[in-house]
Structures are given as structure tokens and as C-alpha cells.
Symmetry: D2
Subunit: 251 residues, 4 copies
């Protein structure tokens, strides 16, 4: 099983998350590319730590919206989105390259992540960007999303992610954050669930029923105060059970 987290989300004077600690835990780093978060120095340091730890680097591309942290949908033209995504991937690649690493996948961020679950033009625009980048980049995202489906149709490798700390409905969708119990907070419960995901065993949905979630990677959160504690608990549990996390991209 792969463990991924959003990293390099600091910006200038503003610090967010503990990149160095998380990069000792995860196997895939979704590195912000400067449009919603991440400045070149922050990005480069994350890449350096990722390279040191053997963590795969993904481009966490987003809308050009620092103030909104990329969490607000922007109704932009597909061709413009394609170019904005290419720009971000290339920028990250240069900084990764200076640290002897390279970009190996793309995971869109925030409102763009949500949009391309179902917004065909934007999903297609992001796929187009990844495809035209020319190297063999993979796509990471929500199982069943248009983003992954169109990426697959275009010949890209695709990886599906599950969420370590989000409650699932019996139908396999996420319980909205506005509802109670939408987010799991107990590190041990989260770790136990991640072990089930790693073993391809069913997990418990919010109503107590069993749910099968096919996932290639588990998304851990990186920007909460407890992020490192939870991530560490998950990794320790997987390692203890003999299922040491490995980068999805190297399988």
C-alpha cells in the first residue's frame, strides 16, 4: 500500500504542516506547485527531503488562488487550465531535478480535485496537460472520478486513493464534512482501518455495514496539528503487520 499526503503547503512567512516529519512516513508526496500554496524554496526543500527518503513526488496542481488555498472552484476555460497545469508540473520538475529527483504523478488539489470528479471539460483539460507533458506521469485521484477514467482512456497509469480519516457512506462515497462523524480522529482507529485497506479487506461504513474500497494509496492529511501523530500510527501499524508501505509508482 502507498501512503500519500499533501506537502509543501507553506508559503513565505507562513508555515503549514511538518514536511520533514511527514516525508519520513509517507511514500508519495503530493507537492504543492505554487498556485494555491508552496513557494519555490518550500517546494525545493520538500523535494530534497523526498529524495533523501525515497518518497515519490507528485505534482499537486491547483487553481491559481493563493487566498482561497485552491479551495474555490474557478470556472476557467479548458485550454487555459491545461496550460496552467503544465506550467505547474514543469516548475515542480525543475526544483525536483535540482535535488536529483523527478515528478512521477499528478494529484490535483482542492476545488480542482473535486471539480474533475464530474466536470468533463476540466477533467479532460487536466488529462490533456499530463498527457502532453511527455513523460510517463501517472494520475492519482478519487476512484470512479472522470479524472481517472479519462486519464486511463488516454493511456495514463492511474491510481485510486482512499481516505484514512474520512467516514464512508454504505455506497462508498465520503460522508460530507458538514455531517457529524464525517472525520475520524482516533489515531489507532484510523491505523486499524488503514491496515484493512492495505490488506484489501472491507472497512466499516458510517452505518456499521461492510464496505469494499479498492485503493492503491491512502491519503493522510498533512496540515492538522495531529497529522504527524496519525500518519506515524498508520505507518507503524502497517509495518508491524508486515505490509510496509511502498510507493505506488514503483510497483
Amino acid at each position: 500500500m502507498d501512503l500519500n499526503a499533501d506537502l509543501a503547503e507553506s508559503f513565505g512567512r507562513w508555515e503549514l504542516g511538518d514536511d520533514e516529519a511527514l516525508l519520513r512516513i509517507v511514500t508519495s508526496a503530493n507537492v504543492a506547485c505554487g498556485f494555491h500554496a508552496g513557494d519555490p524554496g518550500v517546494i525545493r526543500r520538500a523535494c530534497a527531503w523526498a529524495a533523501r527518503e525515497g518518497v515519490a513526488i507528485g505534482a499537486q496542481v491547483g487553481y491559481r488562488d493563493l487566498l482561497g488555498f485552491g479551495r474555490r472552484f474557478v470556472d476557467m476555460a479548458p485550454a487555459e487550465l491545461t496550460d496552467e497545469v503544465l506550467y505547474q508540473i514543469g516548475a515542480l520538475e525543475a526544483l525536483a531535478g535540482a535535488e536529483g529527483a523527478e515528478v512521477s504523478y499528478v494529484k490535483p488539489h482542492g476545488a480542482l480535485y473535486n471539480a474533475i470528479v464530474s466536470h468533463r471539460e476540466q477533467a479532460s483539460a487536466v488529462v490533456e496537460a499530463v498527457h502532453s507533458y511527455g513523460r510517463d506521469l501517472a494520475a492519482l485521484g478519487l476512484p470512479g472520478s472522470l479524472w481517472l477514467r479519462l486519464a486511463e482512456e488516454r493511456g495514463l497509469r492511474t491510481f485510486r486513493e482512499a481516505f484514512a480519516d474520512r467516514a464512508y457512506t454504505p455506497e462508498g462515497t465520503l460522508v460530507p464534512r458538514s455531517e457529524p462523524n464525517a472525520v475520524l480522529t482516533d489515531p489507532e482507529a484510523i491505523a486499524a482501518r488503514c491496515l484493512r485497506l492495505a490488506r484489501a479487506e472491507p472497512i466499516e461504513a458510517v452505518d456499521g455495514s461492510e464496505l469494499e474500497v479498492a485503493a492503491d494509496s491512502i491519503c493522510l492529511h498533512g496540515d492538522t496539528p495531529e497529522a504527524v501523530t496519525i500518519a506515524r500510527a498508520v505507518r507503524d501499524r502497517l509495518v508491524a503487520a508486515g505490509t510496509t508501505p511502498t510507493p505506488m509508482i514503483r510497483r
Copy 2:
């Protein structure tokens, strides 16, 4: 002789220069990278036209200053500048790559261009960026600048530029824009002078004396209304004299 011009300096709704026309004339395109000008769509179109015309693509990197068009010195830390430059080169590379082209040199823009004539820390920071980019990028700039000297010491290929329409002092420096006759405006006079540069013949300094200017490339301006007319006159004169411009980078 190589002819270079600043291109891709439009941004969103704002158009500046006639990229497509100039890319039929010059042999090296200094493509803005989004920090002082140039959005991803503008950049990509410039790269597409450059690729079509066989024009070499250079990264016109600058300070992060859209409002000031990169023309205001920013007293930033060298390590930050290195990362900012890498970010811009990579972003451009991705867009060039999508059009089947690649970045082959770096020419800093505006206040950064001026700063690294003599500002050692910033000159060194830009050289560091180009060097750590990993591919064999060349450096284009002012003859005698620290930027070119440090680039050379670091093992980079360097190219010196002369200015088609700027008056020179007898000592070989540019007449400041604040003085009368600092800028030549007659297309035929400019073309005649460029031919002399192309033939490695001395040109006339502002006081009428002869001046030797060793140059690998001639910088044409791209953002004035007369830019295309002048550039066309220069090219036509060179071609007519049997010195058809060729990209410096391919020599």
C-alpha cells in the same frame, strides 16, 4: 549573427507585442516565464510559433513583480532567487515541451538583468539556478557583466548581446535612456548598424568615434509599435548582405 527579442509579454486580457510576427524574424526568443509577464497560454503560443519557425527558446526570467513588469530591483536572498529562477525555467520548459520544443538558454529580464551586471550575490544565484537545472543551458547577457563571467566560470556556454537601437558611449556602455539620442529610431540606420555588428565591424559611438562591440546576438525590442518594422528591416538587411541570422545556440 543571432537576433533575439523579448516575447510572450502579454498577460491575460492585456496584449503586448506581436509575437507571431517577431517569431518570423528573430532567431532566439526570450520567452517571459510568468513572473513579470507572460501567462501559460501566451507562453505556450510563443513556444509553438518558435518551434514552427525554428527559433531557439530562452527563459526570460525575472523578479516576481507583475505590476512593475520586473523593472524594479527586489533585494531578495540569493537562495530564494535561485529557486525562483529554477521554477520559471521549469514552467517554461513544460510549455515548450508540449509544443515539441525546449529551452536552450536563459536571459534575465529588466531589473534582474541590470542587477546581475554587478550584484555578485544575485548574479551568482542566477548562475546557480541555471547550472543546477541540469541540462546544458546557455547564458545570454551584457558583455562584461558578472552574470556572464560567473556563468563562464561555472562552465556554462555564454553569449554576449549588443543592442540594435541603443546609443553607445565611446567606452562601450549604453547611453542612459534619460539622455538625448539614447535610442535610435530610424529603421534603416538601425539595420545598417546591425549589419556592421554582424560583420564584426566597428560601429559609431554617440560621439562619432569608432567602437568595437563583440556580440554573439543582437537584441531587438519587441514591445514598441514600431518593433516589427525595425526587426524586419534588420533581418532583411542581414539577409540581403548574405549574413542570414542563425540561432547562436546552434553554432
Copy 3:
């Protein structure tokens, strides 16, 4: 009748429109506030010219989106939008004040203009901003829009605008720009139509039928090459007919 146009849409190196010429023609200036266009220097000069010509100043507020020129819908929270609008109005007020003028109305720009025709939360958020600004600012916008309706309910003065150069359907809505004949281009035809609007006479819809358009102001475009010519033709026609334009706000 009032004549309004969007002004101060240059930004740094990038020039757009001929503010000084248009400010000799219009009676209300929708001054960009820096979020989608307009830098403080451009804004201040527009205010100085407006003050000199006795033109009323309106805040042309928009989404924080320079690259998209405010023409892309941003799905932002209403409370954030309220604060963003207040910020823009205040910024403009300070620059107007330095030229002895003041802001007297608000006309949202681009995608925000379109959104608040029907998007209740955003329309309400903009009204809230104008109301909480504390001075007696008016609202200018599309007849029948939620923006004007909610503004009126909140006790603001409201003004309706017609478009000088846009074709109308028989139902009184604008013919989409994607359709043929959506935009009128003949200055004399536009001027004749504006005179009918000024006299509260029906105009001709796209199908030739008569259409009554109740308007307090006519919107002239400011950013096309022909903008000044058309605006001048409209004003000359109105003046010649004895209906000299006057600022809506002073009625």
C-alpha cells in the same frame, strides 16, 4: 440620460483603453479597483480626470483574478465576497479622495456582474458590502437582476443600464455574443439607438420588433479600438438632440 464606461483597466506596463478621452465623453466612470484590473496609479489618474470633467466615479469591483480579468466565476463564500468588495471600494475611495473626488456608486464587473444577476448568495454579499460601507452608495446593474432587487430592498438607490452596442432579444435580454449580430458596430446606428433610449422611446430588437428598455444609464464599451469613436458619436447625438448626458447620481 447617463453614459457609463469601464475605465482604469490598464495594469502596470499594460495599457488598455483611452481613459482620458473617454472621461471627456461619459458621465459615470466605472473605475476598476485593482482586483481584476487597475493599479493604484492608473486608478488615481482616472479619478483625477473624472474629477476634472465632473464625471461620477463608481467602484467597478470584481473577483481577485488578474489573469482572468475578472471574467471567470469564482465560487467563493458570501462573507469573503463582502469583505473583498469592501476592500476594493475603500481602496478606490482613498485614491479618488486624493484627487478631491469620491465614490458614488458600485457596478460589479465581468463574471461577478453576471453571477449576481441570479446567484442569490453572491448578490446578497455584494449588497451587504455596499450597505455596510456606510455612505450612500448607489447600485448600477442589469434591469431585473437580483443585484438591483436586493439592493433596493436594502434601501440603496439603484440604477438600470442598457447596452449601447448589444442586440436585444424581443424579450429584452441580450443576444449572446456567440450568435451573429450580437454586437452593433456602426457608430451612427449605435448613436441613433442611444438617442431613443435617452428619450425613453422603444428600440428595435434583433427580430425587428419594438422593445421598451427602461434605463437610467447607457453602458459604452471602453476597451476596443473604436471605443472612443463610438462613445463620441453617442454623446454628440445626444447633445445635438438637446439631451445632454448628465450623471445619474446627481439626478
Copy 4:
């Protein structure tokens, strides 16, 4: 004695400082205006808390440099700086006004603060902005700075600040941060020193000699983890000694 601190330095997702806690302690709030930090929502909340606590609001204007947090000198033209400062003051005023408060002074931030100690053109440009704002705004800054001297010459009220936690040379300048002992960290020592400042008694310079520092306000830092603890200790000491802090602006 007045106590001032920099506030509203969060931006979107990124939180910095505990504005609400500090606004229960200080008497003057230097509110960031969005150029180096502070978004409209953050600014408005700071203004609301300031209004509730009777804290005076100052415009903490800075260079347009989010990434550098306004800490990098930008070599901009004076006229542009004047307009940039006006823009920021007005933006803040609108948000303060929506909370029933108003801007009463200006304290430049970061690199601009440092520049206008001695950079005549920029100091004059900021004074020009404050003067042309039209209301009776005061100037807060470093004793002996050009900023305060030119402001006074222009007829503005001026206030001098001392630093609660910075070591002073025997000559009365600040010990550079690069030197050891440049910053005091013990809350009680800082509080004791602030009481001496409040009583207009000499304080101890870094070499142990006595130093007279004439100050109208003491600057407390707002963005360190210990900021609130130190600020609280200072206030408590002043109150216990019968020198309850009051806003400088109301004297």
C-alpha cells in the same frame, strides 16, 4: 504609554499570531493591509476586535510582496509608492468602517519601515500618501527616522516607538539581529524594561550603560509563539505600577 503590535498578518489558509488575544492587551493595532499580509476577512476581524476593545487602528502598509512578507526592499518610484500606500489605507478604512471603527495612524511594515528611516524619496512618498489621505492620520515609526521628520514637517502628528524586546546600543540604535543578545526573551525582564520606558526612565543598553529612549509607544511582537505571554506580562506590569496603557492617538 501606548502598546502597539502588528496584527492581521494571517492570509487565507495561513494563520499567524493570535489577534484576538493581543487585542485585549495592546492599545494600538498595526493592521496589515493585504499587500504583505492580511486578507480582507482577517483584516475585518482584527478591526472588529479592536473596536470592541477600544484599540486604535493603524495602517500597517507595506510593499506588494506576499511571498517576501514585505521584508524585501523594492526599488519603486516614489509616485507609485504614494498610490500604493493610499490604496492600502483606504482598503483598511472600509473594513474598519464596517465595524464602526476608523484608521487613526500609519506605521509602515518590514522593508518599507527600514527603507524610510533614510531613503528620502520613499519616506517622502509615504508622507505624501498620508497627507493626501485628507483625514488627520498620525505617523508612527522609529525615532530620528526621515519618515517621522518629514511627516512632522508636513504637519502630521508623529509618534516614536521603542522596542520591548530588542537590545539597544549605547548610541540608541538597535543591535542587529545577527549579533548575540540582540533579542530579549525573558518576559519579566522585558516587562521591567517597558515599565522604565513608560516612566521615561533610562533603560540599560547592551553594554550595561544607561540610555534614554524617548518613546510614545512600545512595539510588542505579535507573530512569535511567546508573543501573547510577553505582551500580557508587559501590560500587567504597567497596570500594576499604575501606568495603564492608553492609545497614543487619544492623548
